[in-house]
Symmetry: C2
Subunit: 480 residues, 2 copies
C-alpha cells in the first residue's frame, strides 16, 4: 500500500510538507481516525518506538528508577490540591463523567501528567529518610485537549511518554537529579538516537505549572524552529505539602520531601529522529532502533535468488534483523521502498551477483553503494553496524553546531533567526525582571528566549535589548 514512488518534496526546501509526506508514505501514522488530534500509529513507527522505550527504560532502571503502572484516570479532587498545577492544566483536561448510564460521583481526568496520582501514593509509601531517594517512572499515554493546531507526533491529543517522579530529602539532591536527567538525555537522545540538543534552564516566566525551576532539551528542526524534548522540573514544595509527603529524618523529625519529574515523550522524540536523520530519500534510523537492519532485494523471481537470499538471512540473523522482499514490485520500486523505510543496509541480489559471488550493498548512513565479496559479508556488515550510528551522529552534530551563532544586536539577531539559526547573546536577567526584554525579542524577531545552559557560561558585554550589563548568556530561537 506504500506509494513506492518515494518522496516528492525536499526536506530543506519545504520541511513542513516533507514531514507530512514522510509520515504518510512511510506509513508512520494514519491520520484518518475519526477523533481530532488522535493518531493510529502504524508498524513502521511502533517497532522503532518500542526499541526507543526499551533503551530509555533500561537507562532509567540502571539509575535506580523503579517501574510502575498507574491508573489512566485521576480524580478531579487530586487535581485541585495544588493551585498553579490545576490552573496550568485544567483547560487541557479530558473528563470522564459517566460509567455506563450512570453519572460518576466524581469526574475523572484522563491524566495529562501524573504528579497528582504519584504524590498521593508517595505520601503512603515514604516514611523515613531511609526510603529516600525514592525514584520511580512509568511508561504511559497522556492526554491533552490541545487548543493549538495538532501535528502528527509533534503535538497530538494523546501521546506516548515516560514520566519519572522522584522524591528527595533535600533541594540539593533534587538539583542533582536534574543533572542526572540531563545525563540521561545525553546518553539516550544523543548517543542512542543521534539527536543533538541544547539543555537549558528555562527563564522564570516559562516554568511548568507547579514547578519552581524548569529545565529542558531543545532539538532543532530544519525550518529553524526548536522543539522541546524531555523537560525536567524541580517541583515546588507546595506540592509535597498539599499531598502531605513527609519523612522522618535521622533525628526523628518530620520533614517534607523535594520532588522532581522528567518527561521524555517517546512519540515526540520519534518525530525528531525522523526529522533530524531523514533525507530526500526517506527515513534513516540509528542502528539500535531500526526495526530491520538489512533488506535483501532479489532482482527477479528465480528460485536460486530466493534460496541465496534465505541463506544470507540465516548467516546474518544472529546479529541483525533481516527482511527479504519477495513482493511483485519492480526492482526500482523495491529500492525506493527500502530507502524510504529507513533500513540501514539494502542488498541487491541478481544473477550477476550470484555468478560473481560479489554482493552489491547500499548503505543509508553514507547513501553509498559498496561491493563486497560474499565471503566477507558478515565482517563487512559488522563493520557498518559499528559505525552506522556514529556516522548519523557526526552528520547531525555538524548541522546543529553550525546553526548556533552569536549576535550582539537585535537587527543581526532578526536576520540570523530568519535564516534558521539558534542565536546566543548576552542578556540582562532570566528572573522575572528580564521578561520585558524577552518580550522585545519576541516582537522584533518572532523568537523566544529559550534559557541558559546548565554548564555556567560567563556573560560579557551588555544585554542585547536593554544594554544593562549582561548577567547571563541566553539562547534565542523560534519554537513550535
Amino acid at each position: 500500500m506504500v506509494d513506492i514512488k518515494g518522496l516528492t518534496v525536499k526536506k530543506n526546501e519545504n520541511f513542513s510538507e516533507w514531514f507530512t509526506e514522510i509520515v504518510q508514505k512511510a506509513e508512520l501514522a494514519d491520520l484518518r481516525f475519526n477523533v481530532k488530534g488522535f493518531l493510529v500509529f502504524q508498524p513502521s513507527s511502533v517497532l522503532v518506538m518500542e526499541k526507543m522505550y526499551s533503551l530509555m527504560e533500561k537507562n532509567l532502571q540502571k539509575k535506580g528508577h523503579k517501574p510502575y503502572w498507574f491508573p489512566t484516570v485521576i480524580p478531579e479532587s487530586n487535581f485541585k490540591k495544588e493551585a498553579s498545577h490545576v490552573k496550568g492544566f485544567t483547560p487541557n483536561v479530558f473528563w470522564v463523567t459517566h460509567g455506563g448510564d450512570k453519572e460518576l460521583e466524581e469526574r475523572l481526568a484522563l491524566r495529562p501528567t501524573s504528579e497528582t496520582a504519584f504524590y498521593q501514593m508517595f505520601a503512603l509509601w515514604i516514611r523515613s529518610y531511609k526510603d529516600l531517594p525514592f525514584k520511580t517512572y512509568q511508561r504511559a499515554q497522556v492526554f491533552r485537549y490541545e487548543t493549538k493546531a495538532t501535528r502528527p507526533f509533534l503535538r497530538s491529543r494523546e501521546f506516548h511518554w515516560i514520566e519519572t517522579h522522584c522524591a528527595f530529602a533535600t533541594q540539593e539532591d533534587a538539583l542533582k537529579q536534574v543533572h542526572e536527567d540531563m545525563k540521561t538525555t545525553k546518553e539516550v537522545l544523543h548517543d542512542n538516537f543521534g539527536l543533538p540538543f541544547l539543555f537549558f534552564e528555562r527563564p522564570a516566566w516559562d516554568v511548568f505549572p507547579g514547578a519552581s525551576r524548569t529545565f529542558a532539551a531543545d532539538v532543532l528542526n530544519p525550518d529553524g524552529k526548536v522543539i522541546q524534548q524531555p523537560s525536567t522540573h524541580m517541583i515546588k514544595q507546595d506540592f509535597a505539602k498539599a499531598f502531605d509527603i513527609k519523612y522522618k529524618d535521622k533525628d526523628g523529625i518530620d520533614k517534607y520531601v523535594y520532588t522532581t519529574c522528567y518527561g521524555p515523550s517517546i512519540s515526540r522524540i520519534f518525530a525528531s529522529v525522523v526529522i533530524v536523520h531523514g533525507d530526500d530519500k526517506g527515513l534513516r534510523f540509528p542502528w539500535d532502533i531500526a526495526s530491520h537492519h538489512v533488506a535483501i532485494v532479489p532482482i527477479g523471481n528465480d528460485e536460486k535468488l530466493i534460496t541465496k537470499a534465505r541463506e544470507l538471512e540465516e548467516k546474518l540473523s544472529s546479529f541483525c534483523d533481516v527482511v527479504i522482499d519477495t513482493s511483485d514490485k519492480s526492482p526500482g520500486e523495491k529500492f525506493n521502498l527500502w530507502e524510504l523505510k529507513g533500513v540501514p543496509i539494502r542488498i541487491d541480489l541478481g544473477e550477476k551477483e550470484l555468478d560473481s559471488k560479489k554482493l552489491s550493498l547500499f548503505r543509508r548512513d553514507l547513501n553509498k553503494r559498496e561491493s563486497v565479496s560474499e565471503k566477507d559479508l558478515i565482517k563487512h556488515i559488522l563493520n557498518i553496524k559499528s559505525e552506522f550510528t556514529a556516522n548519523l551522529i557526526k552528520e547531525s552534530d555538524k548541522v546543529f553546531t553550525n546553526k548556533i551563532v552569536d549576535s550582539r544586536t537585535l537587527d543581526s539577531m532578526k536576520k540570523l533567526i530568519e535564516s534558521g539559526n539558534i542565536v546566543r547573546c548576552g542578556f540582562c536577567s532570566v528572573a522575572f525582571d528580564g521578561k520585558k526584554c524577552a518580550e522585545v525579542i519576541g516582537e522584533k524577531t518572532g523568537a523566544e528566549v529559550r534559557g541558559t545552559k546548565l554548564e555556567k557560561e560567563i556573560a560579557t558585554g551588555n544585554c542585547i535589548v536593554c544594554s544593562k550589563p549582561a548577567k547571563c548568556v541566553v539562547y534565542v530561537a523560534k519554537s513550535y
Copy 2:
C-alpha cells in the same frame, strides 16, 4: 516497606485470603488509589509483566502480526454500528464527555475493546486479496465499568492486555487463525509461563457480543474455580458489513472479509502465574519472566562478604539478573523476603562459606537447599536455569491433570465440583437447544458448562442431564 514476616495464610486452606495477602506483602499492587477498581501496579509485578508482554509480542510477531497503537478513545458512533456489540458493551463503558470546559461534540468511549476502532481502519487499508490475511495487534489498556465486584489483577476496571485483530478472505482461514491462537496460548501461557489450561469452544449461549463463535482458555485456581484467560473470537460478518471492510478477489469481485480477535490480558494472566506457581512461602516465577534470578544475601556486614558478593554478581551477570541484599534486615528476614518475592535462587553468604569456598544455595523450584563449591557455581546455576521452568510446569501440570475427572450423574458431579474439580461429561448439545440442560447443571452444582475441546472428543452414553444421546463431551466448572 515489605512485611518481612512472610505469609500467614496457606494457599490451599484459604486461597482467597492467601491471594489478597500475597498481592499486598509482595508489593504487587497497591489498592489504595482513590478510584474504585483501579490499581497501582508496583515494580514487583510490572517488571514481570513487561517480560510477559515481550514474550507474547515476539510470538505474535513471528506469526505475522504487525504492531499498532490505536487511540485510547473511540467515538460513540463507531460503537453503535453493530447491534449486538453495542448491547454487550455499552453498560460497561466509561464515557469522556468534556475537553477543558467544553462539552465534546460526540461522546468518546474509553475503549473496552477495539474492534470498532480497528475495523474502520481495516476498511481503509484492505483493498485486495493480496492484502489478506491482514494480521495486527496492539499492546494497550482497556477499561470496563464493572458492575461486579472487582479483584486485583483478576477483574479490574482498567487492565493491561494485548488484542489481535485479523481479517481473512474465507471463514476457513478465520478458523485456522483460532487454531493458531490456541497454539500461541500453548506456547506462551503453558511453555513460557507454566500455566496448564483447557482450550474450549464456548457454548452458543456464551459467545462474545458480536461473535459467531467464541473460544477460550480456562486456567484453574486452587479454590476449584476456573478463570478465563485468552479468548479468541470468530466475529460475525455483520461487523465487516457494518464497517464496509471489502476486498477484491482474484476475479475482481468485491467480497466482505471474515475477522477474528484474540485478547490475552497480561495483568490477568499475571494473576494466574501468581496463583498457580505461588506457595506458602510466596511467589515463584518461571525463569524467563522473573525480574531477578539470583538474590545474594551476605550474612553480616563484613566488607569481605560484600566484596565476594560483588565478585559473584560479576560472574553471573552475563546470563542472569543478580540482586545483592545489603539492607540492615536480619538474615531470617532477608531469607523470607526473597522467598516471598519469588527470586528463583538465593545464595546465602557467611564467614563459613567464605572460608570453605562452598556456597549454600536455596532454589525455589524444589524449595531445596543445595551446597556447591564456588568453582562449580556457574555450571550449577546454568543447570538450575535449564530445568527451573520445567520443574514448575511439571508440578502445575500434575495438579491440573488430577483435577479433571469424569462424571456420569448430577449427584457425583455436584460432589466433584464441591471438592474443586473440573468435571468432564457427556452432554446433549452446545447449540442453543442445550441451554436448558446447562441451566439445570448451574442450579444443581453452581457450576457452568465451559464448552467443548477443539480436538474432537467422541461422546459415548447420554447427556448427564436429559439422558438424550450425548452429542458432545463438555467440561463443567465453577468460574469467576
